[in-house]
Symmetry: C2
Subunit: 332 residues, 2 copies
DNA sequence: CTGAAAGCGCTTACAG
DNA sequence: CTGAAAGCGCTTACAG
């Protein structure tokens, strides 16, 4: 392993000078510098990063803490984030372990920024503690504003409203929402009231308690005669969408021939999987990633004062594909 | 940043003793040790890897280099690897960036082991070079044996043979393989010959050149009368499987009522997505992960001599689910 | 059982 | 422009 001392000896200078020459520091005669560089190249010198890092603790690295078992959406966001971060000159590392352990891992590795996808599971006390001992910047996806870190939230209410608006525009007036999330339900209710949609017994199909029972209600709904059943459905997530598609198949209901469908979550890859391209609404991974990177590269000059932590709400995107039809198609 | 000196001061001992206590070195009174550990925990001490690495100790970190846009299978392998590695005391970080950059990132972060999922794309010259300057251990998934690193390969030939054997056992004699991979085709041919399966024009449906044309051939095959068309299909990957399922739907073919199907790749999560549980064959992510960890933890005592790099071939697993039926079902 | 000391390879004031 | 020295946080002989 060749060190700057070896180079210094060969060049007949001190290793201090070698360090400066190799790092492009001023105060080295051009001649000396080029001689040193030549020797370094000849010797195939590789700087010891551990030594360097011991002195200056910068790493230009971002650590991502992602929930495990997280499904396609977060995987795609991860990929997208990595791509954009690399372009901005950061290296990205990810940990799927438990959050407290992940913070420690990242501290060991000198990441200077931690980005978390927040879930109900990752705020146990140990995480809080580990987080406090981390002195870098943090950004939390999926979180309400905080005085301690940057936050990015998703406007789920707006997303569902967009879905309802789209369906209403097509003439639908009897619409059901399938899902638990309160923000989404609020959005659904709000739009429904605003647009004076029909109030029918299957408006909200999920009881908050028991999920298998909830799906039974969906199945029952699908069996109703055309005049009573909704003309359009909005589902919570792509997971729920697949479940619904199965139920439809069993019940011999076709989408969109018999009923329209909008799904929350936009996962382009799914087009390859489903029989038909699904109309979706949700935040685009590109937007989420760039929102985060915008915040992060805005603070090159160290962590901001407390009041400067930023909050961004990412708007959803409605992508109309093949599963929504105008109401006239259902009127025959 | 809390260091062993801080701990030493609080404990009223020298930092040498702290180091020994924390590293489980012998020669520290049990009482002293537990006191030191307690303080370290209270202070949320995180060892400085750079310093440790500088005196050439291990960082117990594994860096994964994964192809981006890699799909569900590799994501699940990643999750599984992380879980098993954490249990074995390693921390895992992942990079999806270009491999050469990933190696550099990992060197910056002092990982002592790099695990790569090998693809045709990640052996460009820069990667080779970056790899050479990395002085830790490497393990390559999906690679032939090498004198420079550990390797784990997948017995794809065996996998397809298992699929054919299973179908033959059910009485199928006219079987098609849909895919490009040469190992898989070899496996298919071998089993077909051994079992003296019927030689029919649709045995191998893909021309190696053009994929859209290949799928046209599949569509044509599905349109043939029952007496001419194969009774069972084997597809290359879950991606191909979805494509096939779409074609079947269009052509009004039901699986498994009209034709049996085995898919390569075992992705349990897919059961939620497909209408019917698919019979699959392929390596289990658990086995791949544990094969890697077995090799890696077998070499606690520094990198092995060149001739000691190990090669493991992971056997596939046939999981019979709902898409394969005995031939008698097709004989009416 | 405990601690003082050397040293890993580098950067960075500081002095010449 | 150049170099001697201190020090980053840690491990590891070595001496008590």
């Amino acid at each position: 392993m060749v060190t700057i001392k070896d180079i210094a000896q060969m060049a007949g200078v001190s290793f201090t000078t070698v360090s400066k020459a190799l790092n492009g520091e001023p105060g080295v005669r051009a001649e000396t510098r080029s001689k040193i560089i030549a020797i370094a190249n000849k010797l195939n010198y590789v700087p010891n990063l551990a030594a360097r890092r011991l002195v200056d603790r910068k790493s230009d690295s971002i650590g991502l803490i992602w929930p495990s078992k997280s499904g396609l959406f977060l995987y795609q966001l991860f990929e997208q984030f990595q791509i954009q971060a690399e372009q901005a000159g950061y290296s990205v590392i990810v940990s799927l372990g438990n959050p407290a352990a992940a913070v420690r891992t990242f501290m060991k590795h000198f990441v200077d920024t931690i980005v978390v996808w927040s879930t109900t599971e990752n705020s146990p006390p140990e995480f809080i503690q580990a987080r406090e001992s981390f002195q870098g910047t943090m950004l939390m996806f999926n979180s309400a504003p905080s005085p301690y870190y940057h936050t990015i939230s998703i406007d789920r209410q707006e997303a569902i409203q967009q879905a309802v608006d789209h369906l209403a525009m097509l003439g639908h007036r009897r619409i059901s929402f399938i899902g638990y999330n309160t923000d989404k339900i609020t959005g659904f209710d709000q739009s429904a009231r605003l647009l004076q949609l029909e109030d029918h017994p299957d408006r909200l199909l999920f009881t908050p308690k028991n999920s298998s029972e909830s799906w039974n209600r969906v199945a029952d709904m699908l069996r109703k005669p055309k005049s009573q059943r909704p003309t359009a459905l909005i589902v919570d997530s792509y997971i729920a969408m697949f479940k619904l598609l199965k139920l439809c198949k069993i019940g011999n209901m076709r989408i969109p021939e018999d009923i329209s469908l909008v799904a929350y979550d936009d996962i382009p890859e799914l087009e390859e999987i489903t029989d038909i391209a699904v109309t979706t609404v949700g935040p685009a991974v590109e937007h989420l990633a760039s929102a985060a990177l915008d915040i992060l590269s805005g603070l090159q000059n160290g962590p901001p004062a407390e009041e400067e932590y930023r909050h961004v709400k990412v708007a959803p995107q409605l992508v109309v594909r093949g599963t929504t039809r105008p109401i006239s198609d259902y009127m025959m």
